[in-house]
């Protein structure tokens, strides 16, 4: 992580950039206000990090709006971090619009790890053109009250969206996720894998809806939400939904809520693996399907540390 600069303090602090860009090589992308554009046919191999640091006490919500545009046949990896360096009572309202033009490919990671006093509201809207690919992950770790509203519009044929979500809550945290995936046209594919781990007295609510519109024949859509409760007081509510308005589709949805499997835990312990380590192994196994979109792979270790150090 050393090679990426981080700027802080500014009220609307955002930043910063890939080492290559910071060293003054030709700009691979342009930024106008909060609109980021990856030009046509540009492939940016190194991840672009956008790190949002909140370190002010704010009574009123801090708005953070931005737009990411990937023009035709461009390709990029964007990693967004939402953190704060000191404990503050603040409300963040982040709005992100993503446009993927034909054949554009975006690998996207949003990681939120605010302190326990923060409230974080995040709205994401994704617009996908023909043959574009979105490969995204949202990881929600911190904050007292978190809300993620994600709307994905598959607007032209052969658009492909894969979205992984991980919530990891503890103490009195409360998280809401609302997801809507619109298949507006034919031959598109969407896959959503959400995992939630709730500890202590935390609560997690998940609502996910796939809408396959009338003309969207040959759609493939899958939605899965699994919840793991690590305490008897934790709560998970899940509501996966399908609305399908034509006959020629392949769709699936499913949800589970449960505790760690006692037989599996006993099996590991009976081989000498200590209780804590055995639980950790089972939790990692549970969440890993939600993290499979993460690129580059080195980030995964870093993220696992963030999750378990919470």
């Amino acid at each position: 992580m050393e090679r990426f600069l981080i700027a802080t303090h500014a009220k609307h602090s955002f930043l910063f950039l890939n080492g290559k860009l910071a060293k003054g090589s030709p700009a691979l992308f342009s930024k106008d206000n909060e609109e980021w554009t990856i030009p046509k046919n540009t492939h940016i191999e190194d991840p672009i990090y956008l790190i949002y640091v909140q370190d002010l006490d704010e009574a009123s919500p801090t708005p953070r709006q931005k737009k990411l545009i990937l023009q035709e046949q461009s390709r990029a990896t964007i990693v967004e971090y939402y953190i704060n360096l000191k404990a503050t009572h603040s409300i963040i309202h982040a709005t992100t619009t993503i446009e993927l033009h034909p054949k554009a490919e975006l690998t996207h990671l949003v990681l939120q790890k605010m302190n326990e006093e923060c409230q974080h509201i995040s709205e994401m809207q994704l617009e996908q053109a023909a043959f574009s690919r979105y490969c995204g992950t949202a990881i929600l770790l911190g904050g007292k009250l978190n809300q993620l509203d994600f709307v994905s519009n598959l607007n032209q044929p052969q658009a492909n969206s894969s979205f992984g979500i991980l919530e990891y809550t503890k103490c009195q945290q409360h998280q809401n996720i609302n997801l809507t995936i619109n298949h507006h046209t034919s031959h598109c594919e969407s896959k959503t894998v959400a995992r939630s781990v709730a500890n202590d007295h935390s609560k997690s609510n998940f609502t996910g809806k796939i809408i396959v519109h009338k003309n969207a024949i040959k759609s493939k859509a899958a939605l899965e939400n699994k919840n793991l409760l690590l305490s008897f007081e934790a709560e998970a509510k899940t509501c996966p939904q399908l609305e399908i308005y034509n006959e020629d589709v392949q769709c699936s949805h499913g949800a589970t809520v449960g505790h760690l499997e006692r037989d599996a835990l006993f099996y590991l312990k009976s081989r000498g693996i200590p209780e804590q380590e055995a639980r950790q192994m089972l939790i990692s196994a549970f969440i890993s399907p939600g993290l499979q979109n993460i690129q580059p792979p080195e980030l995964l270790n870093h993220i696992e540390t963030l999750i378990y150090d919470a």
Binding site: L268, S270, R271, G272, I273, F286
Partner: protein, 251 residues
């Protein structure tokens, strides 16, 4: 006489409120192979699970001593560190945990308990591949999730692989021969014979005499209605195979 490894006296125990074992006695010394046979529902698996410290089992009376320890006061992981191993009748599948990760964690946890340094990835891989070759196991099984989608024979071989890696003092094998074809049975029996410790002991729980063609028992016990009703040598197993358990009830 050799050192006593396991000493069970007048054990009355069950799961939740149901009493299953009703006055079971058993003494196992170093170097011995014991076999427990008995009809379905006689308490064989209850006894094995109790020895491995599975939760929800209640002991009403009697005691189990393992070496100098009160076994009932040990946790599952502690009894594993002290060299007790149960090969499960129905090994659990754990999707998402790779077999190699599981085997390495288990081995290094047991090594740590003895004050030994952990094996690094290279040494571990070499060790595990050697043992797998002995059991005629495909190396591909290392990279799959633990027991997930394994065939019956693969699961049982995987149990013996764990035994081979952890090198236990007392190996309790609960119906390890069930569901195996003849080749698999030979491979598993061969593994057990090669990996057993001279200073340790084996307790086999089985329905069939055929495993005893490969692993020579010193004692054969018949468990019925929660207690040992007869003990003898290998000839008892042959006689049972011939006459069935009804023969014992008539005695």
């Amino acid at each position: 006489m050799n050192q006593i490894i396991l000493d069970v006296k007048n054990l009355h125990a069950g799961i939740n409120d149901t009493v299953i074992l009703q006055g079971l006695n058993l003494t196992i010394r170093a170097g011995e192979v014991h076999v427990i046979m008995g009809p379905n529902g006689s308490g064989k698996s209850t006894f094995a699970n109790l020895l491995a410290r599975k939760e929800n089992y209640t002991v009403h009376q009697g005691h189990i001593r393992y070496l100098e320890h009160d076994l009932l006061a040990l946790s599952p992981e502690e009894s594993a560190w002290l060299g007790l191993f149960l090969g499960f009748q129905y090994p659990v599948a754990i999707p998402g945990v790779t077999n190699i990760q599981f085997l390495k964690s288990a081995l290094n946890a047991v090594r740590k308990s003895k004050g030994e340094p952990p094996l690094d990835a290279f040494d571990f891989l070499k060790l595990v591949k050697d043992k797998m070759q002995l059991l005629e196991m495909s190396e591909e099984l290392l990279y799959r999730s633990v027991n997930d989608g394994f065939s019956g024979g693969e699961k049982k071989r995987n149990e013996i692989l764990q035994m081979a890696l952890l090198n236990p003092l007392l190996a309790i094998l609960d119906e390890t021969d069930s569901g195996l074809d003849i080749d698999a049975l030979k491979a598993v029996a061969n593994g057990i014979n090669k990996e057993r410790r001279i200073d340790g002991a084996i307790l086999l729980i089985t329905h069939y005499q055929r495993l005893l063609d490969y692993i020579k028992p010193d004692f054969v016990h018949v468990l019925s209605q929660g207690k040992m009703v007869k003990s003898g040598d290998k000839s008892l197993a042959l006689e049972l195979e011939d006459k069935g358990y009804a023969w014992l009830e008539g005695q």
